[in-house]
């Protein structure tokens, strides 16, 4: 007799078999995998390593006028990364301002179905294309540079953040809404006086997450000319200077790690007391449940 556990295992196995069958249809020559390990080692040794840290030295042109100790701020890595962070910040602020009213209109517990569907359609349209495609679109419209980056990321933020917002608002308790409805408060009063304060912690936390997300994605949109550090990565990829590319990637990794940590830390202030402990560095690198286990073991 098949037990519940065996049944689950059987289903998982069948899904895996199906996936392999689909993959087999996609790949015509499995033999190409055989040399991939060797290719990677060669590429790593000959082109990637060691990283070329000249990217953190002041660029030759325009001439750096900063104080010598901080001439690092004249490097392409610094200039590109700061521009990426600025693009992410501005687009997060603009995106939040635009997405909140649309997110409120998209909620089914506050609005008639028709209104909710229209708002959801707008959010889905904004989200349907990745930010890099929006960036290509805006580069065509307004030309190269951070402006197209900001516009692209703002549109994507509206779509993504709006969805998070309406899902969070729909998940709130119906009791305050029922009390507000019985009192006769208008939809706008309910939104401002009940919904936003009640879901404020989630909304703030989502906005911080979106900022972090935009920094990660902001590194990519530069590749199509929409500003930020991606511009330099694209430049050195074209010149086949992979040692400089890996240096940029290491810097991006370090900055994203730092922002991720700051984001988790900032978000922890907007959760219910005692629900979440202040995060540690491990929280950035390891899955949450593993961190909890480690913490518990240490306490014991």
């Amino acid at each position: 007799m098949i037990t519940g556990f065996s049944k689950t295992f059987l289903y998982l196995f069948l899904v895996l078999v199906f996936a392999v069958w689909v993959m087999d249809g996609l790949v015509h020559d499995w033999g190409r995998l055989s040399g991939s390990g060797g290719n990677l080692v060669t590429f790593f040794k000959e082109s990637l390593w060691p990283p070329n840290w000249s990217v953190i030295e002041p660029q030759a042109y325009p001439v750096c006028t900063a104080y010598p100790i901080i001439d690092f701020t004249c490097s392409t890595a610094w200039i590109g990364m700061v521009e990426t962070i600025k693009i992410a910040f501005v687009s997060t602020v603009l995106g939040t301002i635009i997405s909140l009213p649309i997110g409120l209109l998209a909620t089914r517990n506050l609005n008639p179905k028709g209104v909710s569907y229209i708002a959801r359609f707008i959010l889905a349209a904004a989200r349907s294309m990745p930010s890099i495609i929006w960036a290509i679109f805006f580069v065509i419209l307004v030309g190269f540079g951070p402006l197209s980056g900001v516009l692209a990321m703002t549109i994507y933020t509206v779509g993504y953040l709006g969805k998070l917002q309406y899902e969070s608002i729909e998940g709130m308790s119906s009791n305050p809404l029922e009390a507000a409805s019985s009192m006769g408060l208008s939809k706008l009063e309910t939104a401002i006086g009940v919904v936003i304060p009640e879901s404020a912690n989630n909304l703030i936390s989502q906005t911080i997450f979106m900022f972090e997300y935009n920094i990660r994605h902001g590194t990519v949109i530069g590749i199509v000319g929409a500003g930020g550090i991606g511009y330099y990565i694209n430049l050195y990829l074209k010149f086949l200077q992979y040692d400089k590319v890996i240096a940029y990637l290491i810097i991006i990794f370090a900055v994203v790690l730092l922002i991720d940590f700051l984001s988790i830390y900032a978000r922890s202030f907007f959760t219910e007391e005692s629900d979440v402990k202040r995060p540690s560095w491990w929280g950035v690198l390891l899955p949450a449940d593993l961190v909890t286990k480690l913490r518990r073991n240490r306490q014991e």
Binding site: P176, E178, S182, M183, G184, S186, E189, P197, A200
Partner: protein
């Protein structure tokens, strides 16, 4: 120089705010139910309610054992659940059209407070509904005065800026009551609003609410599982038993009614 408290400004008496607005309410708010059948499945209704009318100034308690549908009946009268059949009128409006803004105050069993906002913010929501134009961005001075007074009469002045989530269950009940009183409603519907209160606070909250009802001529419909308490506060009892709402007069004693 002595400063006037909101209590003084509004002209206190034991019955609550104020000769000015909380004195006798201008319009009556009558609740009438005709052939109302309540439930979630028309083939298996929860309650068949006999025709009944609740007039202004009346205190009616809905009582009965757990799970018989007391809250469902109250939520139906509050317009939150549509009856399967029948006509339900509240303050001159036939449901599902809403009664006039601010005329109905509802204290749900789970209170419906904005947990992350302050006591003042929550009470202000009620005052806004009762005393501010919905299109106005800011609350009227009248709404602010009623907020202050309601917080004061519920003994929450020192907690006014505390977020709700930091308050005890009993304090939260007082906030929900203050929110409703600040509204100056013509009809109050309260679901177990006296539970979790200690004896002293219970007496105080009950006297404030009944005082308001008596002085203003508003109606009060309260769900109360404690039959003795329901009987002591109400003019009329609605006992739910076996899927029917049976109106009982207040003369009915606890011994005579089998729940």
């Amino acid at each position: 120089m002595t400063s006037l408290t909101s209590h003084d400004r509004l002209g206190k008496n034991g019955a609550g705010p104020m000769s000015k607005d909380e004195g006798q309410l201008q319009d009556d708010c009558v609740v009438s139910l005709e052939g109302v059948v309540i439930g979630f499945d028309s083939n298996n209704p929860l309650l068949k309610v006999p025709d009944l009318t609740i007039k202004s100034g009346e205190i009616v308690a809905i009582t009965g054992s757990s799970g018989v549908g007391k809250t469902t009946l109250l939520r139906t009268i509050a317009g939150l659940i549509r009856p399967i059949s029948g006509t339900l009128r509240v303050c001159h409006s036939t449901l599902p059209s809403q009664p006039p803004r601010g005329s109905v105050g509802y204290i749900p069993q789970r209170l419906g407070l904005v947990r992350h906002a302050s006591v003042r913010h929550n009470v202000m929501l009620g005052a806004r509904a009762g005393h501010t134009n919905p299109l106005s961005l800011f609350p009227s001075s009248e709404a602010i005065e009623h907020t202050d007074y309601s917080i004061e009469r519920m003994g929450l002045t020192d907690k006014a800026n505390e977020p709700i989530r930091r308050l005890s269950g009993g304090q939260q009940r007082r906030v929900a009551t203050a929110r409703t009183l600040a509204q100056n409603p013509k009809l109050i519907m309260a679901d177990e609003f006296l539970s979790e209160l200690d004896e002293e606070t219970l007496e105080k909250v009950l006297s404030e609410v009944t005082g308001y009802v008596r002085s203003s001529g508003a109606a009060l419909i309260v769900v109360e599982h404690d039959f003795a308490r329901a009987k002591s506060m109400a003019d009329r009892l609605l006992l739910i038993d076996d899927g029917r709402v049976n109106p009982f007069l207040s003369e009915t004693t606890a011994e005579e009614v089998k729940i």
